[in-house]
Symmetry: C2
Subunit: 108 residues, 2 copies
Amino acid sequence: MEDKKNEKSCERCALQEILGVIGGKWSMSIIYALFTGKKRFSELGRLIPQINTRMLVKELKNMETNGIVTRKVFATVPPTVEYTLTEKGEKLEPIINELYKWGLEFVV
Amino acid sequence: MEDKKNEKSCERCALQEILGVIGGKWSMSIIYALFTGKKRFSELGRLIPQINTRMLVKELKNMETNGIVTRKVFATVPPTVEYTLTEKGEKLEPIINELYKWGLEFVV
């Protein structure tokens, strides 16, 4: 019984860790924006106008650290920075789409 | 083109609204804890030890307002408060399970 409880509680720790990676206020919106292909930093900013630049930088850095996006810098003047979903990030597409469908039925 | 852009951008607003409902730091963990059936306030606190009482109260109130949980008070001494997922909340089960599986593969 105690073992089962601990197991269930570990599951919850894991879930919390997972949400730490993609449960940020903006992560899913950024991932959603990247489903249609790579985007420049400025494009992401335009696509999610509610997010401010500082937060966008922070979230993208987190997502890069967690292996959800890759960041590519081009030596143009001014430099161009492009973000793409990794395979790991792409695998979230059906889940976020389901969440979106749930929301359309029950929230919006 | 402009229409399509606006549509896509509205989709994103909708997603943001949806995440406002279930994207809180703890909402999904609380929902996950309730998948196995109704829980008392104190049980939820034990199941998610990282959350403090103030935050648990706040998240549950939000979730009640958004129709994800129902709250039932029993006139015991001290009063017992029980939380249950609504139908809307229950429908999140497959989605959160998928998210969890994704996390087990890629995060934990």
